[in-house]
């Protein structure tokens, strides 16, 4: 018997990439008007499955039914005609165009040779009101917030007539308040009969937003559960495939001397516009200072200024008591600063080079790795074998190109390189981005280890959970300045969310 309330039925989906089964017999059903969460770690096959559903790639085998009809979604146009729309994690919007222009782009209403903006605007306003999206179609994308941009993406999908909507990690860029509003919008959409798939790896979101959850692991479906009948610990276990310790062991560490002191730091971009507008803070040995904030509020520039990659316009950076403002990268490294960059493949590794070479990337020029301009590869390989063992890097050989390793193991190579040096200040910028739960757990423990050894750690992250779990103190960046300083035990997601949007904390002692 076919159940017509199922708008989507994906059966035994297999996608084989040259012998690697990204999807290996996955089943997924979506009922009309429900919010179904799709939960899985990075690399579990979520994106592959959704790419199949939106016509970007073809499954190797398996069948798809949409509203009871067997379909062959051979390209994105077919998906669109079936009413399937996707809101991507990274918005596809033109900054200099208005909201209206962005929404109708590629789907224009015309009157003769002319674009009929009036008619389109009317339709968009109607949609915006119906789903409570609260969007001004005449504003330019560059003038609205990230949360509003996301609503533009939602409108885009609605305007194209979708009633099956896929959201890919939609809350990654939102503040806690914005996440609440977003979940309201989701519920509104479902109430109007839209069927929604929510791709996520955040467990509390599932609890708050979804009706059912389908868990996939290593390309296979683990099962589908009603959210009301399953708790977070169970979901985490299903996702990872083993018991997960969700709480970190954070011992009390005696705070030592000031390792990093930033005084009235100003950094300008090439157009001579101040990006960091007078920032002061300090960081002590044995302490983790979390830097929270929405992406693009000066995090990149702060890190680049601290590591010597970007010119400091004014202000001072003192590292271990020495003025290191505008010093060269290597001088800063040799002063005892380790750095874990946000984009490991672009800044942290040289992908075609071997694991050994990458592990020696900061020290290759020093003895015993090289002497009189000659590299001693036997020493470099031995050093690599030691670190591979110590940091549990999964590779068959230290001579393998680092590009052959998984994302988590690539990150371990960077962690091993940076934490094995005799540094006393660690700058970790998004150290767990895109990693699976096991790797995240591992890296968090490594950072806590460093803290226990009396190192000073500056943790810049867009993941509030990470900041809250690890930090001893938290500073929040907004628009190039510090909008507040809090302690994780005395703050809430809500307070942090307000600080992230620039609402200054009353009575807080700002330096």
């Amino acid at each position: 018997m076919e159940d017509v309330t199922n708008v989507i039925e994906m059966r035994h989906i297999v996608k084989d990439f040259d012998g690697f089964k990204a999807n290996n017999d996955i089943n997924l059903t979506l009922k009309k008007g429900e919010i179904l969460a799709l939960l899985g770690e990075n690399g579990a096959g979520k994106s592959t499955l959704m790419s199949i559903l939106s016509g970007l790639i073809q499954p190797t085998s398996g069948s798809i039914k949409v509203r009871g009809q067997k379909v062959n979604i051979k390209n994105p146009t077919v998906a669109k005609d079936l009413g399937i729309g996707m809101v991507h994690q990274h918005f596809m919007l033109m900054e200099s165009f208005t909201v209206l222009e962005n929404i109708i782009l590629g789907h224009e209403t015309t009157k003769g040779p002319k674009l009929d903006f009036k008619k389109a605007e009317k339709q968009i306003m109607a949609l915006s009101e119906r789903y409570n999206l609260n969007i001004d179609p005449q504003k330019k994308i560059s003038e609205i917030t990230v949360a509003q941009q996301q609503r533009v993406e939602i409108l885009k999908v609605l305007y194209r007539g979708a009633d099956i909507m896929i959201f890919d990690e939609p809350t990654a860029v939102l503040t806690p308040q914005e996440i609440m509003e977003f979940i309201q919008i989701l519920h509104g959409l479902a109430k109007e009969g839209k069927s929604i798939i929510l791709i996520t790896h955040k467990l509390e979101e599932i609890e708050r937003a979804a009706d059912r959850v389908t868990v996939i692991r290593a390309g296979q479906s683990v099962g589908t559960f009603a959210v009301a009948n399953v708790d977070n610990n169970r979901l985490a276990e299903l996702m990872v495939g083993r018991h997960v310790n969700m709480t970190l062991n954070k011992p009390v560490v005696k705070i030592g001397k000031t390792m990093l002191q930033v005084e009235n730091l100003q950094v300008k971009n090439k157009q001579n516009v101040a990006i960091i507008k007078g920032m002061s803070f300090n960081l002590h040995a044995g302490e983790i200072l979390g830097v929270a904030g929405i992406d693009g509020n000066g995090q990149d520039e702060l890190v680049r200024a601290l590591t010597g990659l970007q010119h400091v316009h004014s202000g001072k950076i003192m590292i271990d008591g020495e003025d290191m403002t505008n010093r060269k990268v290597r001088q800063i490294t040799e002063k005892g600063v380790s750095y874990i960059p946000a984009d490991r493949q672009k800044y942290g590794l040289i992908l075609p080079f071997s694991v050994s070479d990458n592990l020696a990337l900061q020290t290759y020029y020093q003895e015993p790795f090289s002497r009189h301009n000659v590299m001693h590869y036997d020493v470099i390989h031995e050093h690599a074998r030691k670190l591979i063992k110590q940091f549990d890097i999964r590779t068959t050989s230290e001579k393998l190109p680092v590009s052959d390793l998984s994302g988590g193991n690539q990150q371990k190579v960077i962690i091993a390189r940076e934490l094995s040096s005799n540094s006393n200040l660690v700058i970790a910028f998004q150290p767990t981005r895109g990693l699976d739960v096991g790797a995240i757990e591992y890296i968090h423990n490594q950072l806590l280890n460093e803290r226990a050894q009396g190192k000073a750690i500056l943790l810049i992250s867009y993941e509030l959970d990470e900041i809250m779990q690890l930090s001893d103190r938290i500073i929040v960046l907004h628009n190039g300045s510090i909008s507040g300083e809090v302690r994780p035990e005395n703050t809430s997601d809500e307070e942090l969310g307000l600080l992230m949007t620039g609402v200054k904390k009353e009575g807080s002692a700002l330096a």
């Binding site: 690697f20 690399g43 592959t48 790639i57 971009n269 990006i275 990149d300 990268v329 960059p341 590299m375």
Partner: protein, 381 residues
């Protein structure tokens, strides 16, 4: 589609490219009613069939080895040096000049002096483009091409206006150098049927070894490779992009200059007015690309090129094929070698490619990494 490992592919693709080139060359000859079999036999017999041919083939390959190494060093650092002709020309004229100006200096001093002068001249010419790029970010393709013209006509000016008339036969040709400044080795020439093979080939073999050692074993080579492969990560690791651009350009120009030196002190024993940029520069570029930038690859590719060039002469004289057709056949072979990429598409590499594919499509992470990095870049600019 064939599945092979990366290593097998690296060897198979150039071989198939060469064979495809010969095949197309054969078809071209058939179209104009020439016997391709006879043509290729005469090609190989004149290039490799007797001692003189072998000697000339080696002689022809010698400067290409130097210019190819020059190109490969710059290219490893991410610098497209197409100023090799100018750099080689500077090496040629300067080394000849040094020898002509010091006819009485003992060979032990004069020959090294001339060789080193040629290296420095080539390095300086390349250094200009390197400095412009390091300092101002000037596109090196444009600067090196333009510097080729500057060198081409500056050399003419220097020889005709600055060089003492006593060192010249006429306005377009210098005197022949004396034996104390020559790379010629009499017993070697007579061993190879009185060909122009000279000591340059020994310097070239040393250069091939040095190139391999520099790139694979030294700290300098590690930095050059790092900067050329991932400039951003190298900066993060504290390497200086400017320093490495300058250094690799000076090395590149120095090797190209040596190519000119062996042409002057070895092959021609004089300098004469050049009307176009030197062939050894352009061919060196092709040799480096064909050889995949590796030391052994460059050695083999330079030999292939010289076989084609010397053998091409044989095709004319023995098989009676007009020069124009010979040029087309040679060009077809080089063409196929150059479009190796297309031939490479016939093969799938095992494993490595598969893993990359999976991470690209199955992992949200890699997508976001790309998007984020563009964002980061935008922020910096």
């Amino acid at each position: 589609m064939l599945k092979v490992t990366l290593k097998t592919k690296k060897i198979l693709v150039p071989i198939i490219s060469i064979l495809a080139g010969f095949l197309v060359g054969a078809i071209i000859m058939l179209v104009w009613s020439y016997n391709p079999f006879q043509a290729y036999v005469s090609m190989f017999s004149s290039a490799l069939g007797n001692m003189n041919g072998i000697g000339e083939t080696i002689r022809e390959a010698t400067p290409l080895i130097f210019t190819a190494i020059g190109f490969a060093i710059a290219s490893t650092a991410g610098f497209f040096n197409i100023g090799l002709p100018g750099q080689a020309q500077a090496g040629w004229l300067s080394s000849i000049w040094v020898v002509l100006a010091n006819p009485n200096m003992p060979k032990v001093f004069l020959l090294p002096l001339a060789v080193i002068t040629g290296i420095i001249a080539g390095a300086l010419v390349a250094g200009v483009a390197g400095w412009l790029r390091a300092q101002f970010g000037t596109n090196e393709v444009i600067t090196t091409i333009m510097i080729n013209y500057i060198v081409l006509y500056s050399c003419q000016y220097l020889m005709q206006q600055v060089m003492s008339a006593k060192l010249r036969i006429d306005t377009d040709t210098t005197k022949t150098i004396t034996a104390n400044g020559s790379l010629k080795i009499n017993w070697l020439s007579s061993m190879f049927g009185d060909s122009r093979i000279n000591a340059g080939i020994f310097i070239a073999l040393v250069a091939v070894f040095l190139y391999w050692y520099l790139m694979r074993k030294t700290t300098t080579g590690f930095e050059i490779r790092s900067v050329g492969t991932n400039a951003a990560a190298s900066r993060y690791a504290g390497m200086s992009a400017k320093k490495n651009i300058m250094l690799s350009m000076l090395l590149s120009g120095g090797f190209a200059g040596l190519g000119g030196v062996v042409q002057g002190l070895g092959t021609y024993q004089n300098y004469f007015t050049q009307t176009t940029s030197l062939d050894i520069g352009w061919d060196g570029l092709s040799v480096a690309l064909l050889g995949g930038g590796t030391a052994v690859g460059i050695l083999l590719a330079s030999l292939l090129f010289s076989i084609l060039k010397i053998g091409g002469l044989g095709m004319q004289t023995i098989a009676g094929i007009p020069y124009e057709i010979v040029s087309i056949v040679i060009a077809a072979i080089i063409f196929f070698v150059a479009i190796q990429y297309v031939i490479g598409l016939l093969f799938k590499t095992k494993k490595v490619q598969a893993i990359q594919k999976v991470t690209k499509s199955a992992d949200t992470d890699s997508d976001s990494a790309v998007a984020d990095s563009t964002k980061t870049q935008g922020g910096q600019n």
